[in-house]
Symmetry: C2
Subunit: 434 residues, 2 copies
């Protein structure tokens, strides 16, 4: 099947970067192999909605094979990249090897605990479908445990929720959780009032949503407080365990008794990124991201592209952020470089088109930063809705998601409130994924 | 809160029996406590649709608290019944005790391997949400593994699916799986043709759907064969392991190489049913079901009701089957007995109203037996659809399910095709729940 003169493009990772690279190679005379550990593309920006019971996993996941079904030059392989033979140009999988002429590394990011990996069990992060269903189980279980707890102090600990990190994910989680407590679960319990839940949103910076302009951070903070969230900024977490969180503030140390902590504070690259760096001699930054050339290739290896969360490319004085639009644009760019090389032309430098920065805070509120235009409140929320439905459209789930959101908006209810059984049990009983 | 003269009704289990008992006690002057290990009611008849990727778990599960939110005399407890103090009239949970004046045991059924519990790992059954997502992962993973397998014999084993048990669950699973192979996945793969998949449906009886009249069994068999399923009846499974299934037929022993086996052959009662039998001195049948009085109480314990799959009540010469309508009617009946006792009246005997027996076979085919009326083909399928949507209506998911089914009917696609990571990995890689 493979001919000598056909370029074999191998893409590691089916997230926004890898998927958009594959799609952009649709009409290029190459053979594309997309390798992913999972059989689906995940719409990560809506993962917090699974964690808070608004959406089901299937609504934000689409099988990679379906998405690329009609693209005849492309095949999808379920497999895990474990080594890179950079000299022999082969991607080594756990059970085989795939030769390439061009390699696009798009293996994304994972949670980062800044040297405190032991915290992971008590403060799960939100990167995968399993993370989301696990967090969903823990959030919902906390209310169940509080309902049964006779000791007022312990009940208060069960009704205290700590979200570490007030970036977009942390803010969106906190807003959704406040709505669960105030609206969704209202009247469901007999011994507790769910609106007594304390939702603390911690961040080391001096304001929420640090990447946004100050004016929008303030607006977001007001919206959060209005929903019942307590943002606490300038706070450093020094300890996380089963029974609480210890923080360091300007005023000294403080202990918060809680049974439910969610980690939204930091990400690092996938393990495979380190393997690529080692195999190619590329440099990595503090977070493990590979420093790439302006055309997104690895220095000395023009056939190896690194894109999305795995790459560090300076833009206007600082590294591009790890968000979906960067990954999508870089995926399309890497595909374009490969296509122009086939035509014998050289590559240009990647240029980022910033389409704006959005975060949503509960029902009908949000912040949006387009540089020239800054809005908050319901107009930002409407924008957020429009943008996300537009992107989701490609995954055929748009109508379902729209209907579910419509329902929820009208009824304050959430359709996917399952506490599932699994390996990591909150309260020794229920948890895991489902 | 509790007064001496208020009757405390405790219901163990929030399936069809327990939920309908609780709902029927809505206007009765009692205090109802519904205890379940899980926080949701599961619409079990559609579990096979989760296992085959048509529906998401959240679409057939509804939080018990929501379903009973407005019923002020009822509280829901998340907890596991581990003991019964029949003399002291207390239900003992893993972490506490609940006193009762009346107890309704509605703890349902679980998979039964007839003494071969070791088969469970290689032949998962379909009783819980986790079972369903695990089976979904295994079915989908088998196609992925086949796509990558160079050895034709092993590829054939990956593309061979064995369903043990040709009752309604087995038939519905087989039909849906045949459609996945023929339609849903068509064109998704590059190395395999998914319609080469062999789907074997085994049963020890001499025909599929043994509880149905022969004429409908024959119609169902024709529909299955038309879809590409190979029913094999009069077959006894003697061994299940990682690499295949050994069967005994009239012609002797036979080995089927397969990596994917689903167990739909038998059920037994929950462990708690045995505890109830021991504590009350009640008799159990071969499958563990408690032999109950005509009013569904345990002999010698008029305050203990056993209903649904946990009970054995003879009706027209044989025990009532373990299906949702029996459990629902028995739940309502137990509630009525409790209500009439409060008014000082005695109890009548439970009478089963058989509303018919339905099974669906893929798109637009099915069988329906109403005694006086027997239909098959699309009219039976339409009936099935109507009945299930009507019952689902109560769980607010009706519209979503209807839309998803509509989509799927028109597009041959399935929205919830996630292979998730978990403890029980098919092919050492992907599996578990999600």
């Amino acid at each position: 099947m493979r001919k000598c003169c056909v370029r074999r493009v191998v893409i590691a990772g089916g997230g926004f970067g890898g998927l958009y690279a594959a799609k952009a190679l649709r009409h290029t005379p190459v053979e594309v192999t997309l390798v992913d550990r999972r059989n689906f593309h995940l719409f990560q920006p809506l993962l917090y909605q699974v964690a808070t019971g608004s959406l089901s996993p299937g609504e934000i996941a689409a099988p990679l094979r379906s998405l690329l079904r009609d693209q005849k030059n492309t095949r999808v392989l379920l497999g895990e990249a474990v080594e890179l033979d950079a000299a022999g140009r082969r991607l080594i999988l756990a059970d085989g090897a795939v030769p390439y002429d061009s390699l696009i590394v798009a293996t994304g990011a994972r949670n980062h605990y800044f040297g405190h990996d032991a915290w992971q069990a008590d403060a799960p992060g939100l990167k995968s479908i399993e993370d989301a269903t696990h967090i969903r189980s823990r959030l919902l279980y906390a209310f169940e445990a509080a309902e049964r707890e006779p000791d007022p102090e312990l009940r208060r600990a069960w009704l205290t929720f700590v979200i570490v990190g007030a970036g977009a994910t942390g803010v969106e989680l906190a807003g959704a959780l406040a709505e669960i407590a105030r609206d969704t679960l209202r009247g469901d319990f007999r011994s507790i009032h769910t609106d007594e839940a304390r939702i603390l949103l911690l961040d080391g910076a001096d304001r929420v949503l640090p990447p946004f302009p100050e004016q929008l951070s303030s607006a977001a903070e007001r919206s959060l407080v209005h929903l019942g969230v307590r943002p606490r900024t300038g706070v450093r977490v020094t300890e996380v365990d089963r029974e609480g969180v210890t923080i360091q503030t300007m005023q000294g140390g403080e202990r918060i008794a809680t049974r439910t902590v969610v980690w939204a504070a930091g990400i690092t690259v996938s393990e495979f990124t380190g393997i690529v760096a080692k195999a190619t001699g590329a440099q990595q930054d503090r977070l493990g991201r590979i420093l790439v050339n302006p055309d997104l290739t690895v220095p000395g290896h023009p056939e190896v592209f690194v894109i999305g969360d795995a790459a560090n490319l300076e833009w206007k004085g600082k590294p591009l952020p790890g968000v979906a639009p960067v990954a999508m644009q870089q995926g399309r760019f890497a595909a374009a470089v490969i296509a122009s090389r086939i035509k014998g032309r050289g590559g240009a430098a990647f240029r980022y088109l910033n389409k704006g920065n959005l975060a949503v805070i509960g029902r009908a509120s949000g912040v949006a930063d387009f540089g020239f235009l800054r809005v908050h409140g319901w107009p930002a929320w409407l924008l957020w809705l429009t943008v996300h439905l537009t992107y989701l459209a490609q995954f055929r789930n748009r109508v379902l998601v729209f209907i579910r959101w419509g329902f929820q908006y009208l009824t304050f209810d959430r359709g996917a409130r399952i506490i599932s059984m699994g390996a990591n049990d909150p309260g020794d009983r229920a948890g895991g994924s489902g």
